[in-house]
Amino acid sequence: MTLTIADVHAPVIDYRALSPLMATVGGSIVVMMAGLLRPRFVQRVLVPVLTALSLLAALGLLIWVWEPGDQRPIIEGALTTDTLALGLSALFLVAGLVTVLLSLRAEAVREAGPGEYCALLLGSISGMVVLAEATNLITVFVGIELLSIPLYVLCASELRRETSLEAGLKYLVIGSVGSATLLYGLALVYGATGQTDFASIADAIGSEGGVGITDPLLLTGVAMAATGLAFKASVAPFHQWTPDVYQGAPTPITTFMAVATKAAALAIFLRLFDQALVDTQTDWGPALAALATATIVIGNVGAIPQRSLKRLLAWSSVAQAGYMLAGVVVATTLGLRATCLYLAVYLLMNVAAFAVVVARERVSEHGDDIASIENLGQAEPWLAWPMTISMLALAGFPATAGFIGKFYLIDASVDGNYTWLGIVIVVGSVVSLVYYLRVIAVMWLGRYEVEMPTVPRRRVKPIGGWSPEAGARAQPEVSLVAIAAAAATILFGLWPNPLFDAARDMGSSLSGLF
């Protein structure tokens, strides 16, 4: 044995850049430990506060290490940091904060236990951060699994509701199929190029005499990887699980999935296609564009007959994923920026809508049916306005951030010689009006001249020993989330420059783009 310990080089680790990830992972462990203590104070106050603190700490650290420019390694060959990863991580963290707020009074938290619930949430967020920072096929897969497995559990966390269990199981089965497909794909990509590193893959494909996209191994690998990711991002035709899971999962978790999981999946779409495979854009571009078109059409048409608000938002999120894919398709810096900007806008719009659904389904006998928001404009304008603004923004009305986002995406499509895709986005938006406007009509244009019988306010049943002594009506944190998100939607609609600045920083990360 001549091998001495000195010959094994430990990877160089940049702890400063790693700190946001450490905050969420560490937070996850601390929260799980804290959840073991039984006092009410710990369960009801300390655990959510610790979770929020860990997220805020990660957010703070993230701003601390924010620095536009090229990728810098965190752990050699496994994780790198750049502003794209950091910006997307910021989205995940904000989504996590929102989820914690929306979950404060959720039944799921009481049934699953606050410690477990919050620890799983933090674990999932850590997976997303890993995914955003991944620079290596193996880290990608680790990130995807770390993201997904806690989510399978969280979906089923409302243990006494059958649909929640169904959602969990469905998501587990479909998600596993997606992960397996992705893994196959990644393995084939490795087989074709002999590399696991994104940069090396790009070199292997781009270099003279290297592997072309027509190489059957690489082509199959890329197709399977894209399919696996399409499952996660609920891109048609791999979207069928979305409505069922979104409807069945506890609504705060639905919010988290709609916003953060989608952003994470698109992050890896961006990394894989706009970084590793960027040189063969002319080959995969049309295929991905066709996928985006199908997603836009199917998502928007599927949303039209929905009565359940959660299902409606699920279908709408399918369509929105299609819009965002347009930014990936063109593989330009502009497209990258547009996708990043739209992800941020998308978070705001959906958070506002889901917060209103959370607030209403707790008090209304109709649950998440569209009837639960009937005449909301008169009954609770502070909930009706955020919902209205969110719907208008999702439909792309001006003076909301949704308009800016769509404008930018169309601009990117036209600029990248995919004008027809821009027009598909527009046509999709027209179709989407049918269901977005219906939500607004139900809230504001109901039979207001007829005295409506007051909807009986169903109080949340006391479960598991401690009941929310605050009535179901008093949900200041949910209203706060809704109003804040809606206000931000309007604010960024009128003054979007901060978003553009962030998007420009994020767009500077991938230097191989046009």
């Binding site: 792309g396 308009f403 027009i423 049918v434 406007l437 219906r438 009509a441 244009l445 979007p496 420009r504």
Partner: protein, 514 residues
């Protein structure tokens, strides 16, 4: 003297916001009315101060808004939009006054929407940046969606949804067209710009212009509306509350045709010229179709609705005759049509209140017997609508027909049948409501003081313009001619009257834009 357009533009919205949040509704409605008066006062000052010798923009506001997208906050007034801004300011006063004296459900929301609509319409007339125009153009739909759906009659939710989907389908296509125009006209390495002046200087290939013109035409034809994109008309006109309908028909319809003069002809002269024949056919069809249907309607609102289609057909004919006289006539006719339609709908409101709300010609009649003042007002407005010599509309229609004779003689001859048909349907309308045997439920009373206060000033403006049409012509002449000159040059670079066969096609691209 400096006139800040931003103050005019946001005065109604600011008043409504302050009123809605801080004041009781009785005070708020007066505050909104005061704001419309404030706008009018400001516009009167502007009319007096306007330098009619200049063909450029005056009172320009030009600030950076979203530098990333090249969107500027650019407002300006020239002879083309001066009178449309004046029309907006004039029309909103009586319609708001009419509403102030009537009771509404949820008055704060009603007046907020009314004020927001004024800001949006003023904005789309003032905007000198294409993206800003699109913003205001789409924004207009939001208040009208609520106004029709919330305070309309009959099947109002269906009507308003149809209205918004029709119009937004058009305007989202226009959004795609606008982005495409901006992106494709950007020279290599240049910064994207949506400033209309800048777009006029830049050039795009005529093939590009052609399809972009079609996208714009879709938006403007729906808005106008012109045959065959008028499908939303019957339901919307039946359901809309009258003061709102007066604005919708009198002012909003002008934004579309104004867009042709402001945007399409200067920035895409070759595209506009390419479709000249098609658009003229659409215009002539609209004239004949609208007139024929106006003659056969029983509902008085629909008589005016279809007559509007015919009138907007005339305006479009004037614009696409691509002749200075025709364009002049179109501009003056836009103002005139707005000025007659607003009092017409208010008179319909008065008439309907004399017949227990009936708006059916078969149940009306004989109102003039004890209502001489109402009859006088109505007869003046009717004669103006049918373009009696001495009315401002006569000047407008004659100019349009001169323009059409100049370039497209055959179409001009067919269109002149519309002048005759206008007499047929307007006189029928007048007789069946005011003369004839009193209808079963008709109770003849003269116009009361408040309604008189709303209608009479408008009639006075009509008479004044009939006596002195040069007031408009003199100020709008230069700017209007400048707008069409590019397209006119494309049409016939050598002389304006050449046979189509000898039109040198290849020369077209070389024509420098002024």
């Amino acid at each position: 003297m400096t006139i800040h357009l931003s103050i005019v533009l946001f005065m109604p919205l600011a008043a409504a916001l302050v009123g809605a949040l801080l004041l009781p509704q009785q005070v708020m409605r007066w505050l909104v009315f005061a704001a419309t008066l404030g706008v009018l006062a400001y516009v009167v000052v502007m009319l007096a101060d306007f330098d009619s010798g200049s063909r450029g923009l005056q009172y320009v506001t030009d600030d950076s808004w979203i530098p990333e997208l090249g969107i500027r906050y650019q407002l300006g007034v020239d002879g083309l939009n001066l009178f449309l801004i004046a029309l907006t300011a004039i029309a909103w006063v009586p319609c708001t006054l009419w509403s102030v004296f009537r009771e509404h459900e949820r008055p704060k929301l009603y007046f907020f929407n009314l004020a927001l609509a004024e800001t949006a319409v003023l904005g789309s007339f003032m905007a000198q940046d294409l993206a800003l125009f699109v913003v205001f153009f789409d924004l207009m739909l939001v208040p009208f969606y609520f106004l029709i759906g919330g305070w309309g009659t009959g099947d109002r939710v269906r009507a308003t949804t149809k209205f918004v989907i029709y119009t937004l389908a058009g305007s989202l296509l226009m959004l795609a067209g606008a982005v495409a125009l901006g992106a494709l006209s950007t020279p290599d390495g240049g910064q994207i710009s949506f400033s209309i002046a800048e777009l006029t200087r830049r050039s795009t290939s005529s093939g590009t212009q052609e399809w972009i013109v079609l996208l714009f035409a879709a938006a403007f034809f729906v808005k106008a509306p012109l045959f065959p994109l008028h499908g939303w008309i019957p339901e919307t006109y039946r359901s809309t509350p009258l003061p709102v309908l007066a604005l919708l028909s009198g002012v909003l319809s002008k934004v579309g045709v104004y867009g042709f003069l402001r945007i399409v002809l200067p920035t895409m002269p070759q595209g506009a010229q390419h479709f000249q024949e098609l658009f003229i056919v659409v215009a002539v069809f609209s004239i004949l179709y609208g007139s024929a249907l106006a003659f056969s309607q029983d509902n008085v609102r629909l008589v005016v609705a279809y007559s509007s289609i015919a009138q907007l057909g005339f305006i479009t004919l004037g614009i696409f005759s691509l002749d200075p006289k025709g364009a002049q006539g179109a501009v003056i006719q836009m103002v005139n049509h707005g000025l007659v339609v607003v009092p017409l709908f208010l008179i319909i409101g008065v008439i309907a209140s004399r017949a227990r709300g009936s708006e059916s010609l078969s149940e009306l009649g004989g109102i003039a017997f004890r209502a001489p003042v109402l009859a006088t007002l109505f007869v003046i407005v009717s004669f103006a609508t049918l373009a009696m010599p001495g009315s401002p509309n006569f000047v407008g229609e004659i100019l349009i027909l001169f323009g059409a004779f100049e370039n497209k003689l055959a179409y001009g001859l067919v269109a002149s049948a519309g002048v005759v048909l206008a007499a047929v349907y307007m006189i029928r309308f007048f007789q069946r409501t005011m003369h004839n045997r009193p209808g079963p439920a008709v109770e003849s009373r003269d116009v009361d003081r408040l309604d008189f206060a709303a209608i009479a000033p408008l009639v006075a403006v009509i008479v004044a313009l009939g006596l002195y049409p040069q007031f408009v012509l003199h100020r709008s002449d230069k700017a209007t001619t400048a707008r069409i000159s590019a397209a006119q040059q494309v049409q016939s670079p050598v002389a304006s009257r050449q046979s189509p066969g000898t039109r040198p096609v290849m020369v077209l691209k070389d024509v420098p834009k002024p």
